[in-house]
Subunit: 318 residues, 2 copies
Amino acid sequence: MEKRYIGVDLGGTNIKVGVVDPSGNLLYKTERPTRAEEGTDAVIGRITSCAREAAEASGASWDQVAGIGVGLPGFLDIPRGIVKRLTNLPWENVPIRDLLEKEWERPVMIDNDANVAALGEAWSGAGAGVSDLVCITLGTGVGGGVIAGGRLVHGVGGAAGEIGHIRMEEGGALCGCGQRGCLETIASATGIVRMAKEMAASGRKTTLAEAVQAGTLSSRDVFRAMEAGDSVALEVVERATDALARAMATLSVILNPARFIIGGGVARAGDSLFRPLREAYKKHALPSAAEGVSIVPAQLGNDAGVIGAAGLIARRGH
Amino acid sequence: MEKRYIGVDLGGTNIKVGVVDPSGNLLYKTERPTRAEEGTDAVIGRITSCAREAAEASGASWDQVAGIGVGLPGFLDIPRGIVKRLTNLPWENVPIRDLLEKEWERPVMIDNDANVAALGEAWSGAGAGVSDLVCITLGTGVGGGVIAGGRLVHGVGGAAGEIGHIRMEEGGALCGCGQRGCLETIASATGIVRMAKEMAASGRKTTLAEAVQAGTLSSRDVFRAMEAGDSVALEVVERATDALARAMATLSVILNPARFIIGGGVARAGDSLFRPLREAYKKHALPSAAEGVSIVPAQLGNDAGVIGAAGLIARRGH
């Protein structure tokens, strides 16, 4: 009887639950809304019913389920399985591991959402078979996860991989973390839009002006305008990819990874992002650390979280 | 019969061989000169005879020896146990692991010298009991080693932990690696002396002028002059500690370590280094990543290499 692993990806707007096989294939997935006004008990109850349903719908008996992994956005005490604080839900000091283990009578492990996404890509996505990699998510912010020697790097407080807060510019734009000039302020979708707006506001001629005025400008628009020859868009993309490449050069000398996996909304720009990013990385990276490094798109999309959460259990001891 | 582990620290000028117990205590140590003109066979023969002598001198039978770890300065293929190139010896593509295993009939593991030093400190030095730490050696250059989740981070080519080559200044002084503005050009003993010389040459009044003229200036002189109130020395130390603290802030968001261990000749300045370094780190580090972080001096000195090399075997599977 082949084992099954359940992965839970608890976000601010919904709970995703997936059933995963020992090779990291997602057999079944379901989603439920998360409601901020609900208490902890209600959310845990929903996770529990959802997990049992998902196991059944995937054709697995509860006996086949070897354990449950949970990815959460917030501050965690990973070794003790406690949620100290969540980003979008009013949880405080919830011993979620113990609560779920009691409910399920199965081992439960927790980790933060960016880390489990990295583990998912490393297990059965763009990093399959690669022992040392860094996963970078370019969305509203910049998140990351580090796999070293086949294992997720958590750090002592579960805060490792916070790549978005590497400081790239002395001064620079104010970041949500309170610092200035973090990578996140430059290479996130938000950062790209901000830089384009600032340049449009400074009077530079750009085809982006209309979308800026209408308040609809997206990072995708900036990449499209760059491809169409807009010089402001080109400059913005170059700033974003240059900062990201410098951060990746730093990651290379510290971790010597074989691969960088880039995901999130900004990565959907495809070659318009990857071409200048690879060029800038080649320029900034120490050749001995960059030798043979590949820079590739993430493959699992929104499923990385549930697959990686299941991987917390499946890949224990790796 | 308690196990014994042999650690070999192969440097450009000497070979150190130590016998270590399961707690990471160094029971016996011996040294032999390394001669660059000798062939590989002669050096390996010397390591071999030295290891057998050391085991005997420590009171251990060869049966007690569970394995041998070797730290080497250069480019290695760690998984295959091959020395691709050494920094100070004319070795090329030497399958040292297989050669030594055949000779000793014991498991042999290799790693680079900065990594084994970090492992030594993590095992029984300033990092004992700490799962996540970064070891930084401030000497002629700046070296480093990373321990994450209790394990040494090698990276895919064994080049992880090259902290000295994090780029801190756009432009900046030329580094041995070919880049400009690496941490090594600012925070090493060499970097500190270079900055002091440049400031003296620019006509700034300093008590260091005499030593600069005589060509005897050391980093230690700069720290002493700072303590005596020399403003040039103060500025140099502030630049060095500020750059190092910014690199440590970056390491904190990537790895979330609990401790930084600072060793090497520059660290002998003691509080003159650690006081401004801790202040600068507090200023630059993201509070959530820096919470509870300690910055402490290395404890094992020159023994870190042999102890850590032995630890490659003793701590396998950790």
